[in-house]
């Protein structure tokens, strides 16, 4: 009886989930290609130099936007739709609207990215797409999140649990962040340094209050669900949630250390990022003390292996991020490629890994078709290796860059030359990551859009079994 109700929910989610995750996969591939071009241009400036649209500044920005809004946005819609529906034990209605709004969302991003290529880029972090596409993005986002919240509203059990808090909060926080930043940057532009503060505040909070909570919510769902044991020290989770809600928006401004802003802004940011130790500690205690009770199952069930990789990388890199927010360290590293480390660890090492895991967990349940173990394993190992290579290269390269750039006796060219090997490593790592993401998307599409010949085959197999 229960089994059928879950299958009913899966059936109702199938159309919208497939649409969102399929388009997310396409954006992921586009972002991987763009990331490779951007990395290659750093090692060889003459690479694609004869095309104006492949300027480094444009490619880098398009890559970040395609990644965050294309891959991040679509995958957030997909997984939050499914998890919210499953936990609420209620069916998804309005799949047509979801797909329509999703189409608008994807078209708006496409137009926006072409707008950036055409020279209509705005100067705000992760708000670079031209003004005209934002109303469409915003309205389509509201429609999608409204439909997800309708499912949440019709939940069977009125008391909510951790995955619901994080995912619903992320769905609500994004439009709040957007309205706040957009009104302060475009509708009624603030004077002086306000715009630079708002710009970095929005750009960082998109990651901290949109991508991060969704990924945390996924981990809070999949770990107890697969291991068949409740989250250990669950009473801490609510504390972690409110800590992130209260501290993250303040902590992000520590990136302005040494910038032309009032001194208290980065000072508050530094203190709040030190305080972020609390929610990071809570999340990592919850996840790891649950997962390490049954580590063999974590290792054998590949989706969970992805998720635990993501949570481990979240813990370690967040602590590293706290260290780098200390003024004494930030003085050295502030204007180096260490910022790439922060962005990449969050979007590749943490968010993407958890989304890969949860998608591998959801897809067989929705479509009834398993994904090949070898393909998944290949994806895991290449991803893990690529993420390690990128993060280590940016970390060590960033430290080298920052420390050498502080030496007045060294010429700028010498400093850049000494960082060049690390750029080369990231270029190769992006190739590896690109391959692993290609495998992911192939896995995805193979399950979503089955080959007619293979379909009959597997159908026959199932009958015999």
């Amino acid at each position: 009886m229960k089994k059928t109700s879950e299958q009913h929910i899966d059936q109702s989610a199938k159309l919208a989930f497939s649409f969102f995750i399929a388009s997310a996969g396409l954006w992921l591939l586009a972002a991987a290609l763009l990331a490779y071009i951007a990395a290659a241009k750093l090692t060889d400036p003459l690479f694609l130099a004869s095309w104006e649209i492949f300027t480094y500044g444009k490619i880098k920005i398009i890559q970040a936007n395609a990644f965050v809004y294309g891959w991040g946005g679509n995958s957030i819609f997909a997984v939050s739709l499914w998890i919210i529906a499953r936990l609420s034990q209620s069916l998804i209605r309005g799949s047509t609207f979801l797909i329509f709004a999703g189409t608008v969302w994807n078209l708006a991003i496409t137009f926006g990215l072409f707008g950036i290529l055409d020279g209509y880029m705005l100067g705000h972090e992760l708000l670079e797409m031209p003004k005209e596409v934002w109303p469409a993005l915003f309205v389509s986002y509201l429609v999608i999140s409204f439909l997800i919240l309708v499912v949440f509203r019709s939940r069977k059990q009125s008391t909510t649990i951790a995955p619901q808090w994080f995912i619903v909060a992320a769905l609500i926080w994004f439009p709040c962040l957007f309205i706040f930043a957009w009104s302060g940057l475009e509708i009624n532009p603030g004077r002086g340094t306000l715009s630079s503060i708002l710009s970095i505040w929005f750009g960082q909070n998109i990651i901290w209050l949109w991508l991060t909570p969704v990924a945390l919510g996924c981990a809070y769902y999949i770990i107890p669900s697969v291991l068949n044991r409740p989250i250990d020290k669950y009473y801490l989770a609510i504390f972690g949630f409110w800590c992130i809600a209260a501290l993250a928006p303040w902590s992000v401004v520590h990136h302005l250390e040494g910038g032309p802003v009032p001194m208290w802004v980065p000072a508050i940011g530094t203190v709040m990022s030190i305080a972020m130790v609390f929610p990071i500690a809570v999340a990592s205690t919850n996840f790891h003390s649950t997962a390490f009770q049954d580590i063999s199952r974590v290792w054998n069930y590949l989706p969970l292996r992805f998720v635990i990789f993501g949570t481990l990388s979240y813990t370690i890199s967040s602590y590293i991020g706290v260290i780098f927010s200390l003024p004494a360290v930030a003085k050295l590293t502030q204007f180096s490629i260490i910022n790439e480390f922060h962005f990449n660890q969050r979007v590749y090492g943490f968010f993407s890994m958890i989304i890969f895991g949860i998608v591998y967990h959801i897809l067989p349940q929705i479509t009834g078709r398993e994904i090949g173990t070898a393909a998944k394993n290949f994806h895991f190992w290449t991803s893990a290796f690529g993420v390690f290579a990128i993060l280590l290269a940016y970390l060590i390269g960033g430290l080298t860059h920052g420390v050498l750039a502080q030496q007045p006796s060294l010429e700028w060219v010498t400093v850049i030359e000494s960082v060049k090997p690390y750029f080369l490593i990231t270029e190769y790592a992006f190739i590896i990551l690109g391959f692993s993401q290609l495998v992911f998307v192939l896995n995805l599409w193979k399950v979503l859009v089955p080959n007619p010949f293979a379909c009959c085959d597997s159908g026959a197999k199932q009958k015999t079994a």
């Binding site: 008391t159 669900s225 697969v226 409740p230 009473y235 054998n300 069930y301």
Partner: protein, 226 residues
């Protein structure tokens, strides 16, 4: 390694059902006063660590927020009063030397020896080292006729030093400079802008240049030997 062979489907099937998952966590969430079982074994250490963190954070905030002012603080003031005084004195002397070299040294020579019979010396002259008002007055108004310095006679023509356009501050600097340069020893050694201004105000009526006799009447003790 036996678990290795479990298929994904079996693992999922043996996992927690979603309604059970919700119920279990809702139950955990609603437990308010559970005894120590299942809680962290060392809560006191955590409280201590977090307390230390909060303390460090507040210190950091107090040190770096600059009282929430808009502008950064002025450069840190690490000099002692003695160093400050020494810096001010050196600055004043170099400013005075600059004024002297620009306006006075063509006649009195950079080393202050003057020219025999025409331009009186400043080095070793009691005109310079006695009452500072005397030299200030001469700079302000000029001098004509013959004068005697250290027993020698100088200056057959009028010297219109009052045509030199320098401010009270610059006069104070240059007087201070010549009163200590080339072995001169004067007391008081330093002249301030206000002293010059008061001399200028006292003799504001006088239009023409000084002559030796007038000065001798005003400053008898300064020029007693001449």
């Amino acid at each position: 390694m036996s678990l290795e062979k479990q298929s994904n489907e079996e693992i999922r099937a043996s996992g927690m059902k979603d309604d059970a998952l919700v119920e279990e966590h809702v139950r955990l969430h609603q437990i308010k006063h559970e005894p120590t079982k299942g809680f962290l074994q060392a809560p006191l250490i955590f409280v201590f660590v977090f307390g230390c963190l909060i303390f460090l954070c507040s210190i950091q905030l107090a040190l770096t927020t600059n009282d929430f002012q808009l502008h950064p603080p002025k450069e840190a003031d690490t000099e002692t009063p003695e160093q400050k005084e020494a810096n001010r004195w050196a600055k004043k002397l170099s400013a005075g030397k600059k004024v002297f070299l620009a306006n006075c040294s063509s006649c009195h020579k950079p080393n202050g020896v003057g020219e025999p019979g025409v331009y009186p010396p400043l080095a070793g002259s009691n005109w310079v080292t006695t009452d500072p008002a005397l030299i200030t007055n001469i700079i302000l108004k000029g001098l004509k006729g013959e004068i005697k310095v250290n027993g020698d006679t100088y200056g057959t023509t009028g010297i219109a030093m009052n045509s030199i356009a320098i401010s009270d501050r610059q006069i104070a600097n240059v007087v201070t400079y010549v009163r200590q340069a080339w072995g001169n020893e004067a007391d008081p050694i330093e002249i301030f802008e206000d002293d010059v201004a008061s001399v200028r105000a006292e003799y504001s009526e006088k239009q023409d240049q000084w002559v030796f006799k007038q000065l001798k009447d005003i400053y008898p003790e300064a020029l007693f030997g001449d």
